[in-house]
Each structure stands twice: as C-alpha cells, then as structure tokens.
C-alpha cells in the first residue's frame, strides 16, 4: 500500500518545551488510524502539522506526495472545537456547501454538481431534514454531523477528525464511529481520541502520542502499553449494556 501521509523525524515546539520529538509515521491508503494519548501529549498538534496549519521545527511531512499546505486540499477536517461563533447566520446546507470551496469554480455561486454532492453527504450523515436550520439551533451531535458532512463535501481522500465525539453520549459516539467505519471504504481515516478502549473497536492501528510516537496494532494494546502511555495506572472497567 502507498503512504497517503508520511511524517519524517518531525520535532515541534510552540516556542517553549518540545511538544513532539522525532516523530515518524506512515499512514497507508485506506487505513483507519487512531491517535491516542494523554492531554497535552501532542495529538492535536500532530494533526495540525499534517494539515499544514503548523510548520515542523525540524523534519518533514508529505500529504499525498505534496507539502501539507498543498496536500491539505485532499483532506476533510473535522476540528475538536469549531472556531466559529455558533450564532453566525448560516444554515446547515450553506455550511456543508462551504466544503466545496477549493474544488468548485472560483467565481460566482455553487454549481448544480456542488448542490448534488452536498445533498448526498447530508443524506449520508442523516442531516438532510435539518438542512434549513441555523447552527445555533442544533444539538452537539447534530453539529458534529454537519461538520463531518462539510468535510465529506470536498470528496476527500483523507478524513481527519480531532476528538469528534468528545462532548457526545455513548450512543452518539457509536453512531459516529459506525459511520466512520463505513466511510473508511472510500477514504483513509485518522481520528484523534482520548478514549483508547472505545476506538480500538473501530481502528486498525493505534498511534500512541505523548511527545514521542509509537504505533501498535489494536490487538497489541494491553495494560502495559496504556500504563506507559498515560504514565500511571488506568482503570479499565469491563461492562456491557443489556
């Protein structure tokens, strides 16, 4: 398999202590990779470096054989904290259509094809019925689906999600990850999560980030790995719901 993303010896700091140190990572085409680690361990920073929103202090990154600033066009990105004001006057459909920027024509409005693609991804993410609603009237789960639809509207080769289910309940979390599993049939997926136990059920490989990066297959994740990653004991409660 060819590497969609290649991270080579990347070190990064925001001007203070080193956040990421000598990180190597290859993400294969069609892979479903989970990125886990403790808070402030550098997970989101790694994602932002791959997106070209940050520049590595040393080392290099290639996305789809290009510089991240160029390659980010093939990425659909779902941020952890949406940076926009929730009361911005924009509908769900207009938000999703913004995902067509960069693929559609530069001047004027959206084409019929853009509208068609936006409708398809809204059906896929089950938000078609709320297409005319304003963002500030949506629940956390609905907003997450809208952001996912916006990312999908660009027909990305890679889908990157930063803690997509951080504020959602367990059922919504399962729904979103179920959808991601389906989307993995046509896109490489990288998902950042704090919940190593939960994502292990969906991803094929886990990258453990805590300043450095170590990759494991999901089968190799055991108590020792988790203890090393989080720097202490982690309580694992095995349970099921009837």
């Amino acid at each position: 398999m060819t590497a969609m993303i290649s991270v080579r010896g990347v070190t990064f700091s925001y001007g203070g202590p080193v956040v990421l140190e000598d990180v190597y990572l290859d993400v294969a085409d069609g892979e479903f990779l989970g990125v886990v680690g403790p808070n402030a361990g550098g997970k989101s920073t790694l994602l932002r470096l791959m997106l070209g929103l940050l520049e590595p202090t040393t080392g290099s990154i290639e996305v789809d054989d290009r510089e991240p600033s160029e390659g980010s066009r093939v990425i659909g990105y779902v941020p952890q904290y949406p940076p926009f004001a929730r009361d911005f006057p924009i509908t769900v459909e207009q938000t999703v259509l913004l995902g067509r920027l960069g693929t559609a024509r530069v001047l004027g409005g959206y084409s019929r094809r853009d509208h068609g693609i936006a409708e398809r991804v809204m059906v896929e993410t089950e938000i078609l019925s709320i297409r005319g609603r304003r963002l500030n009237t949506l629940s956390g789960g609905q907003l997450q689906r809208v952001l996912l639809a916006r990312a999908l509207a660009s027909e990305p080769k890679i889908l990157m999600l930063d803690e997509p289910t951080a504020n959602l309940d367990v059922r919504m979390e399962s729904d979103i990850f179920g959808l991601l599993k389906k989307l993995n049939q046509r896109a490489t997926i990288i998902v950042v999560s704090h919940d190593i136990g939960f994502i292990s059920r969906y991803v094929g490989r886990v990258a453990c980030v805590n300043r450095t990066l170590i990759c494991h297959s999901t089968l190799a994740i055991d108590g020792k790995v988790i203890q090393e990653l989080y720097g202490g004991d982690v309580h694992m409660v095995e349970h099921s719901h009837g």
Partner: protein, 280 residues
Amino acid sequence: MEFLQSLTQHVFLQHALLAGVLASIGCGVMGSYVVVKRIGFLAGGMAHAVLGGMGAAFFFGAEPMYGALIAAIMVAVLIGWVTLGGRQQEDTLIGAMWAVGMAAGILFISQTPGYQVDLMTYLFGNILLVTSQDLWLMMALDILLLLLVLLYFRQFLAVAFDEEFARLRGVPVALFYMMLLCLVAVSVVLLIKIVGLILVIALLTLPAAIASQYVHTVGRMMIVATVLGALFCVFGLAVSYQPDLPAGATIILVAGVAYLLSTLLTSFRQRYRTQVTTTR
C-alpha cells in the same frame, strides 16, 4: 407632507435622498460582514482615522472625499496587516491609529490657509450638501462593492465564518480578509457624507444587527439591512427637514430607536417561545 412637496422642488433634497439610498447599499452589504465578523471596533477605528486623509486632501486643495477614500484604504491595509500578523495589543494599535488619524486631520485643517472648513460637516456629515459629483462617486463605489461581493460571495462567507477551514480549502484568507477590510473602508467613505465619520459605525452596524435578529443567512441579512438603511435615511431626512435638525444625527437616532425596539421585541418573542415550550 412639506418634505414631500420640497422633494419635488429642490434638487439638493433629491440628491440627499439618492445619497441615502446609495449609502444604504454599502451599509447593508458590508455592515453585515462587520456584524457577523465582529469587527465593529476595527471599522470604527478605520472611520475615525479617515479624517487624516480628508484633512490632508483639504490642505493640498484636493477633493476631501478622495482623500477619505485613499486614507480609508491605507488604514484598512494597515489594520489588516496588524490583525493578520496576530500581533499583540491589536486593540491598542487600532486605538492609536484611530486617534492619530483624527489628530492629523485636525492639524491639516487648522493649517489650511484661507476659509476654515466647518469641521462639524466632516465629523457629523451633511446629507444636504451632497453634490452630483459625490453621487457619481458613491454609485461607482457601490457598483465595485456589489460586483466583488457577488463574484466572491462564498469566499467572503468562508473567511467571515471559519478562517481556518477556508485556509484548508485553499482560499487565500489573507487576500480576502484584506479585500473585506478595504470594502468596509469603501463603505465608510460612502457613509461619511451622510452621517459624518463619528456616526458612521452606527449606520454600518445597526441595520445589519436588526436584520440578524430576523433572518438566517448572510445574504438575506444584506438585503434586509440595505432596505432598513434606506428607510432610516429617508425617514431621518424627512423628520429632520421641517424643524431643521441635523439630518445625520436624526438618521442615527432613528436607527438607534429601531434597534432598541427590535431587540426588545426579539427578547419578548424568545421569552414567549420558551414559556410555550416549557408549558407543553
């Protein structure tokens, strides 16, 4: 009634009315961006700093409106450069440009030999002094503004809504942000003749703020804000005409009262809806 009669007889009143409508296009379209992007302070700084350009133009014997336009664009680029660079104390820098621009303008005007211009005309505007040359300039600026917004509506929306996402989609965010600020600067110039540079910010934001209470998209907000802006100008002009009140200040008061009433109405409406929902 007297206003309507005078309107048919006096060219200066017809000019004033047309100027109000032309200025409303700028205030409706760009005011919507100012409100949703929350750059009211920045636009206020731009409006005040423009006095430097007007004063300089007056000093060198040029048309003050052209001086205002050049100064507004220069200040927009400077403010854009400061904001995009993420420099610290951005508000201090904008405040400094605000004050320095005004101070420079006052110095230029005070040092201009001969007849001393009435500073109040620049500060508070005088819609009744609009010339046909002003109208042509306003029309040209409106056409430029509408053309750019129609052509790049999606890019401006993306930059106003979510800069990071726009950047990832390959939109040149810095370029569009600068263009946005320059178009706000153009709107400021459009409004200076009507309400003067001190009151510009009110006409730039109040119609758009009222519109945002009733419509769900930026496009509709622009249309509603333009209509409201035109209504405020015409109504303010009519109210001020008979008792010979300053037209600019009257227009702003009309807009201010409308905003207050609309905010109260929206607040009551929301409270009523919440009550209905909880009692069900």
